[in-house]
Amino acid sequence: MSATPAVKTFVIDGVDASARPEQTILAAAREHNIFIPTLCHLDGLSDVGACRLCLVEVKGARRLLPACTTRVEEGMEVTCNSPRIAAYRQMTLQLLFAERNHVCSVCVANRHCELQALATSLGMTHVEIPYRFPSLTVDASHERFTLDHNRCILCTRCIRVCSEIEGAHTWDLMGRGIQSRVITDLDQPWGESDTCTSCGKCVQVCPTGALFQKNRTGGQGCKDPSFLPYLRTMREEP
């Protein structure tokens, strides 16, 4: 008999629930059909808790915790939906929109964008925080793909898929705070990258119009990250 119990019991939004050991609050919530919004999480990639949209209340914890990186503990009481959480989600979403230049109407990812869709589903009708309108660059040096920093929310999905799935580690993060941005190799133009295999996985997992295929224009940049869980499953030890 194992010393650790095979199942942890906890309460989520007032409902008694169970989770497997090592399971995160997010994974357990989804199994129980409880909605928690996410942007940086993607099935098949590791979790980093970057976007802060999945913040939940855990009874006894002094601060809000990201559901994607917090494991379920025995007896935990989790609140995923409350006026406080809703207010924080709105604020996080507004900060993402205000930080860079997200112009949905002319974006390649218009109607295929997870950020835009989340704004609709969370009922965000406007942004109270003043827009920064920063001056940001576009890297179109790659033969097939373009990087537009204006639309990047720094979710780091591109970095993780490139490192964890493709094994190339072309992408990385540079700078701190408001200066942070994704880079290819040692901040060289993408088209001159020695490590990029041009597989396009980063483009498919990007939740916004920050990474897109070159032959796409406004609203044509649909993404399909569904290959990820398959790749993961295929590569698992039997």
Binding site: V103, C104, S105, N110, T120, H126, S135, L136
Partner: protein, 177 residues
């Protein structure tokens, strides 16, 4: 019988697409128009904003000094002010010039391509503000209707509700872009 509500529509720094979408309600506009008097609009001749208006729909962002003057006057004279469309709500396409500043844009448009007569037109034109901003950066806005443009259906929903004396709930319906 109760008096009809007064409605105004305004076109600031935008492309008129939101007004096109308003007209795109087709025959529903006839039914709806029984419930209001259109007192000021790019669609009618009235040039001066009336002293008391029940509902004002504003398309476009605040991009120049004239817009700025207008928005304060309109706010003063309007009971329910609606930001109609992405330019009014976010700045949108009108605000694409913001990272460069007004001078750089004017130079690019009037300076670089021109030959001998290169000059920025000044006479009779309002000065551009350095940054285009959404309406609510300057005045209180009662309702936001995002979209580029907002669909005719959502404008119909918004107008019907407002004319019936209710504040429409756009959560889950409102979509940017």
């Amino acid at each position: 019988m109760s008096e009809k509500k007064t409605l105004a529509t305004v076109w600031l720094d935008g492309c008129s697409g939101c007004h096109m979408s308003l007209l795109d309600m087709d025959e529903r506009l006839i039914e709806l128009s029984q419930q209001f008097d259109l007192v000021c609009s790019p669609l009618v001749d009235q040039k001066i904003f009336p002293p008391h208006v029940d509902i004002t729909l504003i398309e476009g962002a605040i991009g120049n000094e004239e817009d700025l003057e207008k928005i304060h006057l309109i706010r003063e004279r309007t009971r329910i002010l609606v930001s109609l469309g992405d330019c009014a709500v976010t700045g949108n396409v009108s605000a694409l010039r913001n990272p460069f500043g007004a001078d750089a844009v004017l130079r690019r448009v009037y300076g670089e391509p021109a030959g001998t007569l290169a000059q920025v037109p000044k006479i009779g034109l309002p000065r551009l503000l350095n940054r285009v901003r959404p309406l609510h950066d300057y005045v209180h806005v009662d309702l936001f209707v995002p979209g580029c443009p907002p669909s005719a259906d959502s404008i119909y929903m918004v107008l019907s509700e407002l004319l019936a004396g209710r504040m429409p709930d756009l959560s889950g319906v409102a979509r940017f872009g």
